[in-house]
């Protein structure tokens, strides 16, 4: 594989996001305005939005979710950026990770110096079966969806293949959910700002208040094993193995690297970018890894000239608990079959040696699909600049990685970021 380089360096100089959750009174444009405002306020030395030359917005399916297509110019017009070019990027749940890559390429090509990258999705206006069908269009609607596959179903099938191959039990998946809820409880933008223990205690209190029998769960694992508290969605995945249906928006400001310090003394330099594609799930040689993720990660590491062991913090695509385990192996943090052990032993927790998804991940922060890729970068932006508040990692956190998957791995994009000095 050729070691590809960007024609010009690119840095992130601003980042913002809406709160993630279910917002009946907000459409994507309202959420995008929230993200854009926070982005403008985040630029340390200020930015005049009129200097933004072009915008790339990741959006999976506003067409199906809210009956609105052609969303990129709508968003940019609403924040006053017309008539500058606005382009929508669609690669399912990797839409804004790929939009970021398009923004990088636009600056690296020499065409622009200052580019806005966004991500939007509004999913909660539809009933759950319509959401299932809308997300299903990111699979193969001729050969996968008619068979009965749903997105939880796809990842559940990967889980059965993984658990069988590595002789693990479904219980190990629950640990990932517990960990990401603990992280999300420290993130005021998260849809679920509660630990599983908090949810469990609240349910007990609610039962007591209503005069109902108080559930006897002794610990989080017992709660998560309870079919009533944590129903099966697609065996072996249960409700708390799945990221939620969410509304949200995210935004990043990209600048030509040699201009970055005009905006901030602490830019994040994008030193690695990789992207790969694949066919459907059944096309792959094995189902215990996502090949496009491995390829994208290899490209990003080669461009950045760093190793997996150099990375201090990573946000990976945990649309389901099994997906986080596969991701941590695919980006090279753990050997194949070792990811579940790392999760079970707390290695991937905030206090562990290899912190993963300090934001709460898609699981707890929320997963407005088109917004998630760029929102992952916002956590890296905060951690590398020491602005992550209660969830800030200790020490010199100077290198971060994002891993964003579309579908079951038909698209994967990986980026590596560095704070210098």
């Amino acid at each position: 594989m050729a070691n590809r380089k960007l024609g010009r360096g690119v840095a992130i100089v601003g980042a913002g996001m809406s709160k993630f959750g279910a917002f009946p009174d907000k459409t994507t444009r309202d959420l995008f305005v929230d993200a854009f405002r926070e982005l403008c306020a985040s630029v340390d030395k200020g930015v005049d939005p009129r200097d933004i030359e072009a915008t790339y917005i990741g959006n999976c399916s506003s067409d199906l979710f809210e009956g609105q297509s052609h969303t990129a110019p709508l968003m940019t017009s609403w924040v006053g950026l017309a008539p500058r070019p606005a382009t929508r990027v669609e690669d399912a749940c990797a839409s804004s990770g790929v939009a970021l890559r398009q923004g990088i390429l636009a600056i690296a090509s020499g065409l622009y110096d200052l580019v806005l990258v966004g991500g939007i999705e509004k999913m909660t206006a539809l009933p759950i079966e319509k959401v299932t069908d809308a997300l299903g269009t990111a699979g193969d609607t001729l050969y996968e969806i008619p068979a009965g596959f749903t997105f939880p179903g796809f990842y559940a099938a990967m889980a059965t293949a993984y658990l069988d191959r590595y002789d693990a039990t479904p219980e190990i998946l629950l640990r990932v959910g517990i960990k990401n809820h603990e992280h999300g409880a420290l993130n005021d933008k998260a849809q679920f700002g509660q630990r599983i223990a908090d949810i469990m205690a609240a349910r007990k209190a609610s039962a007591a208040k209503k005069g109902q029998p108080i559930p006897t769960w002794q610990d989080e694992m017992e709660f998560l094993r309870d079919d009533r508290a944590n129903p099966l969605i697609a065996w072996p995945l249960r409700l708390f193995d799945c990221s939620p249906v969410s509304d949200g928006a995210s935004a990043l400001l990209l600048a030509r690297a040699d201009l970055a310090t005009r905006f901030t003394d602490a830019p994040l330099y994008i030193i690695g970018s990789g992207q790969a594609s694949d066919g459907g799930l059944a096309d792959r040689a094995g189902l215990t890894t996502i090949p496009a993720a491995r390829l994208a990660a290899q490209q990003a590491y080669a461009m950045a000239r760093v190793q997996p062991t150099d990375i201090k913090v990573a946000e990976v695509h945990d649309c389901f608990t099994i997906a986080e385990i596969l991701a941590t192996e695919d980006v090279g943090f753990f050997a194949p079959g070792q990811g579940w052990r790392a999760a079970a032993e707390g290695v991937t927790a905030r206090a562990g040696a290899r912190p993963i998804n300090t934001s709460g991940g898609l699981k707890a922060k929320g997963h407005p699909v088109g917004a998630s890729g760029a929102a992952q970068v916002i956590e890296i932006w905060k951690q590398l600049r020491g602005q992550a508040g209660a969830r800030q990692l200790p020490g010199d956190i100077n290198l971060g990685l994002t891993h964003n998957v579309g579908g079951t791995g038909q698209t994967c994009v990986v980026h590596i970021f560095e704070r210098k000095g």
Binding site: A2, R4, K5, I128, E129, K130, T132, D133, G136, D140, L142, Y143, E144, I145, P146, A147, G148, F149, T150, P152, G153, A156, A157, M158, A159, T160, A161, D164, P231, L232, I233, A234, W235, P236, L237, G279, G280, L281, A282, D283, L287
Partner: protein, 161 residues
């Protein structure tokens, strides 16, 4: 990157490529696959160059870019590679009568001829998924759903008898 570091492979697509199976006038499309399925035939495509078999039927071999394909009927025998029991199903499966109380099994099946395909798995105990074994031998089964013009044949698998 310097230009001389970049090399390109040569590839010549014959004029007949993508034209379908000339003998039978069956294009390599989902419509043809579905037509065969309605006749209870599980048909894939086979590369004339190396004999490799594709299901879903592909018009171009991804490994070689070879586009000299022919239709081939598959045995329908295979084994289970991965599966799940779906409790919150697609609209189509809900319409077919499945729900939280009546979940269904869907999986990935590797056929004896090599390719893998997604399909519903029938004849297994969905309430005891721990008894469904990866690697178990399966046999294709053709399932009709819908009425009148909406009637369609779906590919499913069941344990080999």
């Amino acid at each position: 990157m310097k230009d001389e570091s970049r090399s390109f492979s040569s590839c010549i697509l014959p004029p007949s490529a993508l034209m379908g199976d000339a003998m039978s006038d069956n294009e390599f499309t989902n419509a043809t696959y579905t037509k065969f399925l309605n006749e209870h035939k599980l048909m894939g495509t086979r590369s004339r160059a190396d004999g490799r078999v594709y299901l879903p039927p592909r018009p171009i071999a991804p490994e070689t870019q070879n586009a000299e394909m022919e239709w081939v009927e598959l045995s329908g025998r295979g084994k289970l590679v991965a599966f799940t029991i779906v409790y919150v199903g697609t609209s189509a499966m809900i319409a077919a009568g499945y729900d939280r109380k009546n979940p269904y099994c869907v999986g990935v099946v590797e056929l004896a001829e090599g390719p893998k395909i997604s399909a519903q798995i029938l004849g297994v105990d969905v309430l005891h998924p721990e008894q469904i074994k990866i690697g178990m031998p399966l046999q294709a089964k053709f399932v009709a759903r819908g009425e009148g013009d909406a009637k369609k044949t779906f590919l499913a698998f069941e344990p080999q008898k």
